[in-house]
């Protein structure tokens, strides 16, 4: 049961073959069995989830109108605020934080009658590519437990891959949905910037952050995106466009279809097995009648450098709010005789510096430092402003590409999942694992990773498909064409 797709489960729920309560119970059971190995969750909302499930069952029984996801458990990356529930962002800084409000996407999920089953592990403040930067635990890749699940939404990707939840939400600032989706063998979609409200998403880099779905199939991802997309006045960058019925239209193939393949995505650093799987996927599309043409995204080699200046600059500003005063970790003040001793002694600025020094982990500090430097007097023009100019060139590369093709395809990641600890002490090597996904965030375009094969040692490989801004519908339809012609998405890892 737990291995089935969300769409399948929804059909069983609506036919009455299983109750939402029983289904939620099965996933909670899977979590109990598998968490000692996988460690995808930071918080399991057992009582709350069962209560929500019973409420959905009662609604169904009474014949009341029910939501799009009625009775389906959804796991939530711990970067999203749920009223009264732990929301740590993977950080000691927010270890005891309980948000006083729900994120917009959480309101949407409640409205869709989804069951909020728990909060998933992540790199601290969504900064990382392996989930090893979590202050609390290291999540395992369900396909090979000594390897990382990717990041920063590694917990959400692993939870779906391990069948601990049929659906989950993540956030993607430089690849944090697509990269772990590829490494865990699931579907992960980053919507266009502005498609989903960021209200209640704890900010990392506000001009790049976007919330999106993880699922076993493209149709399931379409369903979850449909539930969370749409305008929200509390996020002025959420775009006031109507949300297409993605879940209905996803079955419609795109014909004719022109696929652009960027030659820059196949240069140094790309693993041979990954390249082989991606080339084979392109052949599948050709077999379906698509035209595959080589294109150039000439500024790709500058994307990682651009990202690490833009994202860290924004992060240094966003994370200034953690001051030990309003919420979050606070280091108790040193007693100061001049202030009469006892609590309240010492200066405010020292308390702030100590609280931040203690509350943030190494990668978060590194990014705050880099961003602060890039924005500091004397360096801003040479670093930050220069990066914004290159960002425009990267966007223009895509605008040109989409003038001649429907979608751009390539590998999601240069390699399959790496070993835990392998890149932990080399920040730059870690950054380069996002080389193919980062430019999509800088350009604001939607992208999806779909399973497209396995390495000889059994690790999943992802195909990335990107489309022009707000063309999620086309993106999903194109991805679904491949899924129907292949069965990679049917495979599940062997777990307890």
């Amino acid at each position: 049961m737990i291995e089935r797709s969300a769409s399948d489960l929804l059909a069983s729920l609506s036919k009455g073959d299983i109750s939402a309560e029983a289904l939620t119970g099965q996933f909670l059971q899977a979590i109990k069995q598998r968490e000692p190995d996988v460690r995808a969750f930071l918080h399991i909302n057992e009582a709350g989830a069962l209560q929500q499930a019973r409420a959905v069952d009662a609604k169904r029984k009474r014949g009341e109108p029910i939501g799009l996801l009625a009775g389906l458990p959804v796991a939530i990356k711990d970067v999203l605020c749920i009223k009264g529930q732990p929301t740590t962002c993977g950080s000691k800084m927010l270890q005891n934080y309980r948000p006083p409000y729900d994120a917009h996407v959480i309101e949407r999920l409640r409205g869709a009658d989804a069951v909020l089953i728990g909060k998933t592990n992540m790199d601290e403040f969504a900064m990382g590519s392996s989930t090893e930067n979590s202050a609390f635990q290291v999540t395992a890749n369900p396909w090979e437990l000594t390897r990382i699940p990717g990041g920063s939404s590694g917990g959400s990707a692993a939870a779906v891959a391990a069948c601990e939840a049929p659906l989950s939400l993540g956030s993607d600032t430089g690849g944090s949905i697509r990269q772990p989706a590829a490494l865990c063998g699931v579907v992960g979609l980053k919507p266009s910037y502005g498609r989903v409200s960021r209200y209640g998403l704890i900010a990392y880099a506000s001009s790049l952050d976007q919330i999106g779905p993880f699922a076993h199939t493209v149709a399931d991802a379409a369903l979850l995106l449909e539930a969370i997309a749409g305008h929200d006045r509390r996020d002025s960058t959420s775009v006031d466009k109507s949300t297409p019925p993605y879940s209905k239209n996803v079955e419609e193939p795109v014909k004719p279809l022109v696929i652009g393949v960027a030659r820059e995505y196949f240069l140094e650093g790309l693993d041979a097995e990954v390249e082989k799987a991606v080339r084979a996927a392109l052949k599948v599309y050709e077999g379906l009648g698509a035209k595959v043409q080589e294109i150039s995204l000439p500024h790709t080699p500058y994307a990682v450098a651009t990202y690490y200046l833009v994202a860290t600059a924004e992060a240094s500003s966003n994370l200034a709010r953690y001051d030990g005063v309003h919420y979050g970790h606070r280091t108790p003040s040193q007693p100061s005789p001049a202030a009469g001793g006892g609590q309240g002694g010492g200066r405010l600025i020292d308390m702030v510096k100590r609280s931040r020094g203690e509350g943030f982990g190494a990668e978060v500090k590194r990014r705050i430092m880099l961003g602060t430097y890039a924005l500091s007097s004397g360096y801003k023009d040479a670093l930050y402003v220069r990066a914004l100019k290159v960002r425009r060139l990267i966007r223009e590369d895509f605008d040109k590409a989409f003038g001649g093709c429907d979608v751009v395809m390539g590998p999601t990641t240069p390699t399959a999942a790496f070993k835990a600890g392998e890149k932990a002490n080399d920040p730059l090597a870690m950054y380069l694992s996002d080389v193919y996904t980062i430019s999509g965030n800088l350009a604001g375009i939607p992208g999806v990773s779909v399973p497209c094969g396995f390495t000889a040692s059994g690790l999943p490989i992802g195909l990335q498909i990107q489309a022009a801004p707000f063309e999620e519908e086309k993106l999903l339809r194109v991805a679904r064409m491949y899924e129907r012609a292949t069965d990679w998405h049917m495979r599940r890892p062997k777990l307890a």
Partner: protein, 103 residues
Amino acid sequence: MSLTPAEVRNVAQLARLDLTDAELTAMTRQLGSILDYVARLQQLNLDGVEPLAHALEVHNVFRDDEPAPSLPVAEALANAPDRRTRGEGEQFYAVPAVLDTEA
């Protein structure tokens, strides 16, 4: 591009981060190698290119100025590491002295 430990200490002060000596040493080395990597942006001719701060056209979004309930004070302060209550039940954040009191 290399940074000196003194420069890194200055950035840490700007960022309001207490760094241990070991962190300062590691940070000096790591920031140096990241800055070496991002130096590749200097290779591009960017004459006449406008900065792109945002992928969308960003504009001000106005709404009518209509009074609506705000978060109650008790809820807003519920996560504060140190909050106090004054005479009439008025709650507030408590912080150490902002200015030096020794002078």
